[in-house]
């Protein structure tokens, strides 16, 4: 049984209810995730005198059986220590979310949580991470808001994706028919550069809304992913269709669509170098260079840029060197 058939049965397809009873464990993950991520300084940070450190941070942690975690934080331009805050928050978040995966035995059962459960788990996780940021701030005798940053968490798995975030940026996934979809709505205020941070107080109760979605916004994608991406806002207009001006009706039309052409082009190149035997280090170097100066828009971007991409390599050779449990 293929993975997608297994999922169809698991969530109840035409004859899903009957099939569910007979299933005991998920089929073996076939393929290999090629994941790359880079956080690069924006032009305004490079050109400042002295240069402003990159306030973005990210981490990627592959787990067993085709599961993994990718996290990024974008430090607030208005917070003096946000470069430290984003790095610390990423490091803590990786551990906290890995703990959640292990504790709930999602890898072993091959099951993603229900949306309500994921929302609660993510909210609690963000509260825990926030508390740790506060403790560090207290120890360093600074305000926790000096460490302000946004956060996007993506847990990728063979049968779907979990995503949760506080703040702006974008994230998307590629389905098994090759179409890219958005999977989060950035939290923006009335002005385009206003967002919300992990260190903000507003979201703590879990009922605060921004841009028409809750903060944090948590989603369960029950679709076999063949790719995913997450990025800080410095990359969004170079990778997503974010909007256009309808001259006829004099109206700006908001969009939140990953650029199919952009991601498919990069997907092919990632798969190609992977097939040519590039090591993870080679791929990371190529990716960093691309995010830094891959085209004029990336080169000229003023804000810091973090772009993470994961592509499923389904070739036989890739299957042979997949990560096993």
């Amino acid at each position: 049984m293929s993975l997608s058939d297994w999922i169809k049965n698991k969530i109840g397809g035409e004859d899903g209810r009957d099939a569910r009873k007979t299933l005991t464990s998920p089929p073996r993950f076939e393929g290999k995730w090629v994941v790359a991520g880079a956080s690069e300084m924006g032009k305004s940070h490079k050109n400042a005198d002295p240069p402003i450190p990159c306030q973005d941070s990210h981490a990627i942690k592959p787990l067993e059986a085709g599961w993994g975690i990718a996290i990024l934080c974008d430090g607030a331009g208005s917070a003096p220590l946000s470069h430290i805050g984003s790095e610390f928050t990423v490091s803590q978040a990786i551990g906290v979310f890995e703990g959640i995966i292990q504790k709930n035995k999602w890898i072993k059962t091959g099951e993603l949580p229900q949306p309500e459960a994921w929302q609660k788990l993510a909210l609690d996780a963000f509260r825990t991470i926030r508390k740790r940021v506060e403790l560090v701030a207290e120890a360093k005798e600074v305000k926790s808001k000096d460490y302000a940053c946004t956060i996007i968490v993506v847990i990728y798995a063979p049968m779907g994706i979990l995503v949760s975030h506080i703040g702006d940026g974008r994230a998307g996934y590629r389905d098994n028919e090759g179409k890219w979809h958005p999977m989060m709505t950035p939290h923006n205020g009335e002005e385009a550069n206003i967002t919300i941070f992990l260190t903000s107080d507003y979201w703590l109760k879990g009922d605060f809304e921004m841009s028409g979605v809750t903060v944090p916004e948590s989603k369960v994608i029950n679709s076999v992913p063949t790719g995913f991406t997450l990025m800080s806002d410095g990359c969004e207009s170079h990778t997503f269709e974010t909007g256009y001006f309808d001259e006829e009706n004099m109206r700006f039309i908001h969009k939140n669509t990953p650029s199919q052409a952009f991601f498919e082009t990069l997907r092919k190149q990632l798969l190609s170098v992977n097939a040519e035997g590039a090591t993870d280090k080679d791929i990371q170097e190529l990716w960093s260079k691309f995010v830094d100066r891959g085209n004029t828009k990336f080169t000229n971007e003023l804000d810091d840029k973090t772009l993470i991409i994961g592509i499923l390599d389904e070739r036989q050779e890739a299957r042979d060197d997949r990560i096993e449990t």
Binding site: T239, I253, Q269, D282, G294
Partner: protein, 233 residues
Amino acid sequence: MGFKDFSAESPENYDQKSICCFVVDVSSSMTGAAIAELNRGLQEFHHQISDDYQTANKLEVAVVQFSSNVDMIVSPALPYNFEMPHLKAHGSTKLVDGVRKAMKIIEGRKDWYKMTGQPYLRPWIILITDGEPDQGQDINGLSMEIEEGTKNKKFVFLPIGVQGANMNVLEKIAGYNKKGGEWQKMMPMKLRGLKFAEFFEWVSASMSVVASSTEEESVNLPDIGNWMEGFEI
């Protein structure tokens, strides 16, 4: 083994807009070197933002000049859609009327952004003056309007004093910014000599810092360059 660099074309998107309205003093006291340097600074600023790939499609500029009269000499436009005029010094100093005109212009532009559903950044008003406002100019009234406008996030107000400016008046009309949860006055800054070019360079660079993520109410201000003279608060 060498691998081919990754490359991909980015999609075309409509850029979010911001507006910066300069309110410039062209009273007779600016005659000579001051007006010449101000003109040079404005022209360089225009070239700089026109040449900057990022700013050219984002930053709209308006210019109001004041002397015995108040005139909008550049209506809100992207850099490639206007010519920066050469200013001539003459007349008196209707500073308050000039700032009020700028407030109306940016409010109108903001209404346009909102009406058309466009993402935008908080507008800036930059006042550049070298002298004392005319008798009868309502500084106290303007001071209250700027406090209300900046605290309600309608605009950022930055008063710049050129040699001979009455900094006490500028301090009185300074705007507010929230830092660490507290409202703080954004104190006026005094131009060192006639370093208009350096100042406008700073303004151009500032627009990018302003665009970076920030929490509600606060505004990012970039570090001040060497164009500013030390000014005690």
